[in-house]
């Protein structure tokens, strides 16, 4: 094809990827705006934002480095110096919770993004292709889903060894089939609509129809799915931390803090309670946000696939 002069249709096609991304970002902002109008979203959105801000500003706000020992102040209760007290090594619990926020939010968000990206591509393409291809792809996805999520994550992490990147990769793998299933069923109902038919009759290539015609119309489903997935990502990542397969010590991880703090539950419950409240409030916030997004669009509650 001569590329010297592009017809408007062709140049638009060329920018399909950029436009798809811009369109999605706009769509997501619109959905969050709608969610803000619901009671659940009104509580969830600020709760999540507080966590994100703390995660970003955590290292600056923290009064002490997360791994600094204060051996003279072990098991200190809450004081003006140590707001939430200290643990068995005299490390400041408040600082450790803050630094834990950074790692868990980064890991969960990146893992969710990966799962959503792969799941969307697989789900949309498979749903659009239909027929034998769809059949085979979905069987493979079912196969992946025949492992309980945590078991699959444990197996993958045992094999690859634990690191931030590997946890992100693991969450992505665990989420891909689940996201694909949801996006596929959205695609099946969209692809019979007239604007898709007319794009096909215009002779648009499949990738254009999938990403420029179908994808933008999945944003309500996609944002709900992303927020639900994010809540599971936090649960999964913190559970992996609790089981000792998360971020390696001495850097702080909420799950690991709770696991290690169990030995001192009787005399210093804050070691355990502070990260517990942190992880609970984050997941509750994300779940409320998901609820708000769903309510705003009056999407059915639907089954949640853990």
């Amino acid at each position: 094809m001569a590329t010297a002069t592009l017809t408007p249709a062709e140049s638009e096609r060329g920018n399909a990827a950029t436009r798809a991304v811009v369109g999605l970002a706009r769509g997501a902002r619109r959905e969050f705006g709608y969610a803000w109008a619901t009671p659940a979203g009104r509580i969830g959105l600020p709760l999540v934002l507080v966590h994100v801000v703390l995660a970003i500003a955590g290292t600056v706000l923290a009064p002490f480095p997360a791994t600094e020992f204060h051996l003279l102040d072990r098991f200190s209760g809450p004081t003006m110096t140590y707001w939430l007290g200290t643990d068995e090594f005299g490390r400041d619990i408040f600082s450790r919770v803050l630094s834990g926020a950074t790692s868990i939010i980064l890991v969960s968000a990146a893992g969710t993004a990966l799962g959503i990206l792969l799941g969307t591509i697989v789900g949309l393409s498979s749903g659009y292709a239909g027929g034998k291809v769809d059949e085979v792809v979905m069987r493979v996805m079912d196969g992946l889903m025949s492992f309980p999520a945590l078991l699959l994550a444990l197996l993958v992490l045992t094999t690859l060894g634990s690191s931030h990147i590997n946890i992100v990769f693991t969450i992505g793998i665990v989420f891909t089939p689940r996201v694909a299933r949801v996006l596929r069923s959205a695609t099946l109902s969209i692809k019979t609509m007239e604007f898709v038919q007319s794009a096909r009759l215009r002779g648009e290539p499949a990738y254009y129809i999938i990403f420029r015609e179908i994808l933008p119309n999945t944003t309500p489903v996609l944002t709900v799915e992303a927020s639900v997935r994010l809540s599971y990502a936090v649960l999964l990542a913190s559970s992996l931390g609790f089981l000792g397969l998360g971020v390696q010590p001495p850097s702080s991880d909420w799950g690991l803090m709770i696991s290690e703090g169990r030995a001192h539950i009787a005399n210093a419950p804050l070691i355990v309670l502070a990260p517990s409240v942190a992880v609970a409030s984050l997941v509750i916030g994300v779940n409320l946000l998901a609820e708000g997004l769903r309510e705003a669009r009056e999407l059915p509650k639907g089954e949640r696939t853990p």
Binding site: L150, L151, R262, N287
Partner: protein, 314 residues
Amino acid sequence: MARFLLLRLGLIVVTLLVISFAVFGVTEVLPGDVATQILGQGATPENVAVVRERLGLDDPWPMRYASWVGGVVRGDLGESLVQRLPITEMVGGRLVNSLILASFTFFVAMPVAVAVGIWAGVHRNSFGDRLASMFSLVAISLPEFVTGVVLIIVFSTTLGWLPSSSLVEPGTNPLTRPQILVLPALTLTGVMFAYVMRMTRANVIEVLETNYVRSAILKGLPMRQVIWRHVVPNAMLPTISVITLNIGWLLGGLIIVENVFSYPGIGRMLLTSIQTRDMPLLQALALLIAATYAVSNLFADLAYTWLNPRIRFA
């Protein structure tokens, strides 16, 4: 119906094969030589070669896979690298313990969750409904280890009512000291309860808005009859498929809860096998858990089919 049964049974065999292949593949790519691991770092190359030979490690992987699967089919799960005991013997008692905990949870949580879900759906937007919704949102949001640890702080270290760890004396059964089951089961119940309750509620609301329920109400049936004869049976079908999905979550929860309470089940054993890098044991346990999930999915599917007249009579 018979055709469906056969198809479904065939599918489960394929699923189990895929699972076994995946488990084998994942644990095979692991770095580290099993023979060196058995003998320790100071082993001479000659000794390592002998052990490799005896374990059949030099065979090509399809042969090793075949002999592993062959063993599993005959009920021989291999030998643990750390304990040097047949895995089938080690796993038996643990599996029973896990099943006791899981069924304790399942059969207590499910009926209550369904009942609350029906009630909340019928009394939509009442104070009780809102309370139940709020509670279930919190329950879904709390990781099991947080719930577990908080329950320990409240009922064990503060009130002193229940033991904080659920160790079982060797040779005995958890049922001889049922109080050790209470906190683990309560922890597991939280999430399961929430999912099933929310789904039941949503389904009840959906069915209440259908035309056949409206006509049942309009022809003057008492509300009690409308709910039990028209709403509940129709709302239960989708609930069953959610219960199925949650069995996977229950199994994952089991891994965590057993480790929170040091409960001697397969979840605790799985983590130990990861920590000690006991690959044959890890393979066996992963296969066992995934297979349990697949089989319980099968049962749920059958229940769904049997309860759904549209499929039963097709």
